[in-house]
Every structure is written in C-alpha cells, then in structure tokens.
C-alpha cells in the first residue's frame, strides 16, 4: 500500500544494463519465433508472471515490447549472476509474497490465469510513483526485506534498464554513436531528435 506524499523523491539511478542479442518470443509476445528459455533463478510460475508483468510495464507499440527484447531472461540472469546471496533471498521472498498478494487481491486460485487488467489494478494500488510514500515501509522501517511496493518498483526499474540496454533498442531506437570523435554541446532536437544516447 502507498499514499501520495511530497516527502519522498524516487531515484532511478540503478546501474545495471544489458541482454542477449537473440530474440525471445514467449506467450503473449507477438514474435513468431519461440525460443526456449529455461530460467536460471526463478521458479517456472515466477517466470510466467514476470513475462506478463514486464509487458504491462512496456507493452508492444510501434516499438518492441519488453519480452520482444528478452527482458524477463535478463532479469532472471541478472538476479542469478549479479545479486549477492543475501539479495537473492530477499528478492525470492519478495517475489513469492507479491504473487500471493496479487492472487488474494484478485481472488485468483491460480496466478497463471491472471489477466493484464488485474495486474494493472494491483499496480495502481501498490506501485509507487514520484512523491508517494510506502505505508508498508513506514510501518516496518527496520524490515530487511522488500515491501510489495519496493519489489514492484525494483522490477519496473530493472525492466527499463534491461530494455534500454538491449542491442536492438540501443542501436536502432535510441541515438547510437559508438565512435563520436568529438565532444560539444548543442540542441537536443538537432543532435538526437529528442532521444537519449544509448551509450554514456
């Protein structure tokens, strides 16, 4: 749970990046090629939920969806290879807890059947945006784990970072210049047509 408040500013400075260049098509994804992805860290039901969740954050438009660019695989590998053992345990516990909560929230016996609109309803209640405060955290300031809101925001941040450091997004969607050859200031519009550089 959360409420709007002017106290807390949220940061999006998490420093992770990356992904594999292969195209991964899974479940709701519109890609036709179905590659096999065996999660390294996540339980199969967690992986399935993650696939739905990341596509709610970044659905398919004229640009690829999160699953089109392998975001779930990235997150799974990232937690497996980069997180400390302690952070893995926190992540795992928060994931289970969140899945239980959303099932109860939506009155679902099996989370496999969760629909996008149900995920959105849950996010509306728990995902924190700028200037909102986490009531669960306020009630338990010393809790070492992640609250539901913190967990959802972590997934949102990881989804965005994974998306932006994908090869297709980095080279074809964002402004990409591997060898700039110079450094100078200029107008955003004329330099990149308003987009970010993919390399910084």
């Amino acid at each position: 749970m959360k409420r709007r408040d002017a106290i807390k500013r949220m940061g999006y400075a998490a420093g992770f990046v990356v992904i594999t260049p292969t195209i991964l098509g899974i479940l709701n994804s519109c890609t036709t090629e179905v590659a096999k992805w065996t999660p390294k860290f996540l339980m199969p039901e967690q992986a399935q939920f993650l696939i739905k969740l990341v596509n709610v954050f970044l659905p398919k438009t004229s640009l690829p969806s999160a699953t089109d660019v392998n975001v779930p695989e990235f997150i799974d590998r990232y937690v497996d290879e980069i997180f400390t053992i302690e952070d893995q345990q926190i992540f795992k516990a928060a994931f289970s807890n969140t899945m239980t909560k959303i099932s109860m929230h939506q009155g679902l016996e099996i989370l496999d059947e969760v629909e996008d609109f149900q995920i959105k309803a849950f996010l509306d209640e728990h995902l924190m945006v700028k200037d909102e405060v986490d009531i669960e955290r306020e009630a338990n300031p010393d809790f070492k784990g992640k609250t539901t809101s913190e967990f959802l925001n972590t997934i949102k941040t990881m989804t965005i970072q994974a998306y932006l450091t994908n090869e297709k997004i980095g080279e074809d969607v964002l402004a990409y210049e591997p060898i700039p050859g110079a450094y100078y200031c200029g107008d955003l519009k004329s330099l990149t047509d308003g987009k970010s550089w993919s390399l910084d």
Binding site: L58, K120, T165, G181, L188
Partner: protein, 584 residues
Amino acid sequence: MATKTIDISNEQFDAIVVGTGISGGWAAKELCEKGLKTLVLERGRNIEHVKDYPTAHKDPWDFPNGESATRETKERKFKQHRTGYVTREPNQHFFVDDIKHPYNEKRRFDWIRGYHVGGRSLMWGRQSYRLSDIDFEANKKEGIGVDWPVRYKDIAPWYDKVEEFIGISGENLGLPQLPDQKLLKPMDLNCVEEHLKARMSEEFDDGRLLTIGRTAHITEGTKPGLGRVQCQYRNRCMRGCPYGAYFSSNSSTLPAADATGNMTLRTHSVVYEVIYDETKQLATGVRIIDAETKEKIEFKAKVIFLCASSMASASILLQSKSSRFPKGLGNDSGELGQNIMDHHFHVGAFGIADGFEDKYYKGRRPNGLYIPRFRNLGGNTDKKEFLRGYGYQGGASRSSISEMVAELKYGPKLKEAILKPGEWNISLLAFGETLPDSSNRMYMNYDIKDEWGLPTITFDADFGKNELAMRKDMKEQAVKMLEIAGFKNVEGYDLENRRAMGLGIHEMGTARMGRDPKTSVLNEHNQVHTCKNVYVTDGAFMTSSGCQNPSLTYMAFTARAAHHAAEQFKKNLTQRKLNLKDIT
C-alpha cells in the same frame, strides 16, 4: 613488444627496472635511450597494446550481464570492489584478485592495483597537473614532515619533457599554485559547466576559477609510440585505448624503450629483494621468484630502479635485509614504509540545473571540470582551521532516463518517456591534500605469507585532524558554488563510511625524499641516501602530497632520476677505463 623467453640469468645488465607502470615505463625508456642495457621486470602477465584490450569495442549488450560486476568478481576482488567501479565487467580483468594477492589491515586501507605490463598506467584517471613551489616549500614553511630537497625550477624542465612526449590537453591559467604546462588544445566545457564558470567569476573575489581538466589525452596531432592518435570521445579509457589516445606505458614509453634494442622485458617476475654488497656498499642486483614456476632467480646490474608502486617498492626494500641494513635497505632513518599519504575525497556537492532542457551534447568526454586550489594562498584565501588546500573535479551531464519515468506507472507513455534524456545533474567532488604523518604506515607481516612464500603487507593508516577539518570546508564551498550558480536541490555530502586511505588510488610517501639521511630515505635525485645505485621513482618518493593528481609528477621525477643515473653510469664507466689504463 615480445617478452624474452631465452635464458637471461647469466646476462649482465647495466640497469634493472622493477615495474612497468607510470614510472617504470619512463625509467625503461630513458635508460634504454641513453644506451643502458636494461632488464625490465614485471610481476604480472604481458599486455600488448590493442591486442590485449578484449573489451575495448564492446557495447553494454555485448556482455552477458551488462557492465555490472558479477557476484563471483565481487567475492574474489572484494577489496578492489570497495571503489565501486573497477570490478565492473569491462575492466575487472585489469585488477588483482584479492584472495590470490592478500594484504592485512590494522586500519582499513584500500589498495587498488593491477599486476600486468603497464600496471595502472592502463587504468589511471589521466588527470595531469604539476606541483608548484607552494607545494615544494610547504613542509619547510609549516614545520611539517621534512623539506623537499628539490624546488620547482629543478623539475620544471622534466615536466616539459614528459608533457611533450605523452600529450596533455587543457588550458593554462597562469596560476602560482598550478603552473602552466605544455598543453594540447583543451576539451570543451558543456553549457551547464560554462554557466557555473561565469557565475563563479562574477561572485567570488578570492581567485577561484573553473577550467576544463588537464588530461593525458591527445586532442591534436599525434604522439610517439604505437600509432598514438587523437581521442575519439568514447570514454572507454580504462579498458585500454585502441587509438592510444591517452598515455599508457603500453602504447608510449615501453615501445620507445623496445625500439632502442636495449630492453629485455621479463614478465611473471616477482622481485622481493635488492642484493646489497657490503664491500662495494652498492646494490648488485635483485632476487625474483618466477610467479608461474616459483623458481628463485638472481639478476645482476649496475643500477636498480624501483618503480613497483609506492607500497610494493617499500615492501621490496623492507625485505632487503643485510647486516648493514637490518631494518631493510636504506632504512637507517626508520622512515621506510611510513608517512603514507593519499588524497581524501568522497566529499562535495551535487545539484540539478534547470533551464537547459533543450540542450544536449555529442560525445562522451573522458574528462571533467577542474577548480584549482583556492585556499591558503595568502590574503583572503587563508583559513585558520586547516593547512594546505584542495581542488574540485566534477562535471555536468544529463541522466540517461527522464524524470517523467518516476511519474508514470506503466504502458505506452512510460515507454516513450524512457527514450528521452533526463535532467541536467552537476557535481563537484573535492580532492584534498593529506599531511605526512609517521604514524600512517605499512610494514611486513612474516606470519601471513602469500602463495610465493613472501611476507604480506600490513597497513595501519588513516586521515588525520587536518584532513577532517579541511573536509568541512570542501563540502561547504561546493554547496556555496552550486547555490550561487542557481542550481536547484543542491546537497552537500561527505561519505564518512566510504572514507579510507587508499581509495583515492594515489597512495604515496613510503620512502620520502629529503635532505637528511637521518629523517628520509631518498636524496634529491631519488637515490637511496646510503646505497646510491638504487633509485626509487614511484609514489614512494613523495615528501608531501599536494592536492594535484600525482602521476605526472612521478613521470617527471623518473625521467630526471634516469638521466642522473645514466650520467653516473657513464662517469663510472669512464673512470673504470681510466683505472684500467693505469694498471696496464
């Protein structure tokens, strides 16, 4: 440049250089160019320029986990990881494994290093400033430590020589505390940095200025070495530069040494002792352990240059015990291993610049802004709370994600927002001078040995009262400057829990120069006072730290010492020939 695999154990060398980093490369180049047959010993593996920079062209998506440090790296390189950046995937392979290369900490000390040809010249920060007479005279004026046995006029021509060879870009300001240099054209400040610069010149009457950093990058023309050309603004320097655009031993000094035909480079050679001859009262060579075969070998030479890094060179001297030097070679004073200094940092301020939303930049500048020292230079710059001063490094850039991202939950609008650059951030990070203090020291621990059976180093050092008092001002002035510029959300910081000696990676001072052998280890030519054919020219020689990044000073002193050593060598050679004539 190929490393020699032939048997060189019976060869007689004119000179031995221990180490191939910033100072070792220069010693090798200068000695070889003066005609001395020189054996260069490196404890790590070879790194060939370009060929051995495996990540130089990789984009973030070319790494299995992006550029983040893996758990395995963080576990094996747990002390290197204290920096927070050297263990990242693009460059972690250039930093040591802390489990394989242990050291001990009576007080926390962050010893960040790389064992390979080129040493830290491959991964250094590249900021290059001269010391001035304000620095060389400070100890004497204030009665701190010992007096430097050199003044600016002694070293100035050697700064010239080094700068012209390696290439440094920047802007001369004509400041007494920051001497002018031989500079290539400066890199650009961006529009937010220009704004801060303009506001500072309007608001301060104490001489503080903002300029672009002086950095060891080629910005015009070329420089000698292996095809060294202009910087391409990729900012991937720490991975090794395929253009040779920044200075490293690998691209510049070692190829120059190699081209003379006088250099023999032997890798995997862990030097642990300088051999002292009691009759000659000189060193006759070094003892090494081959890192791979664990074989012990002696190499002989007339001149020894220790350029192994401040801590490693002190460690070699401390292990070089004889009946003449029971506390280690040249350690009559007991100062060897003491007076460790570094630059204290992780203090400053940051803020956000409004009004530049329609501005952006092209390129990734491997450099930032610089605010030269403006404290304790006389008049209204004097502070009674602390001695010496500090400078700021920093810069402005746009964050890669728009602040809109924090306001949007999910869906197509969020997806659009994440493609846009975020707000302009600006930060100032102070680097402060540290006073020499004999209680800040390292010594050998013979109870804990490494896998080669060599004693390990124990560190016992921290910053003192003067540095802590200086930090208050470092934070306050950073806040003041950003506020005066009209930036918003300005916050000062002083990361107390991250503050430890060594983290600046400017550790120095363990074999200081001085005029008196009773209180110092080295003389004015970087010679061990009591064993004159041993020169120490890495950071160990520093008598005070200044607040300037020190590598350029190591290079200049090394070139000067090598010139001195070569002159002495030739004089002795002539003398021996004359003596021979007398006999025959």
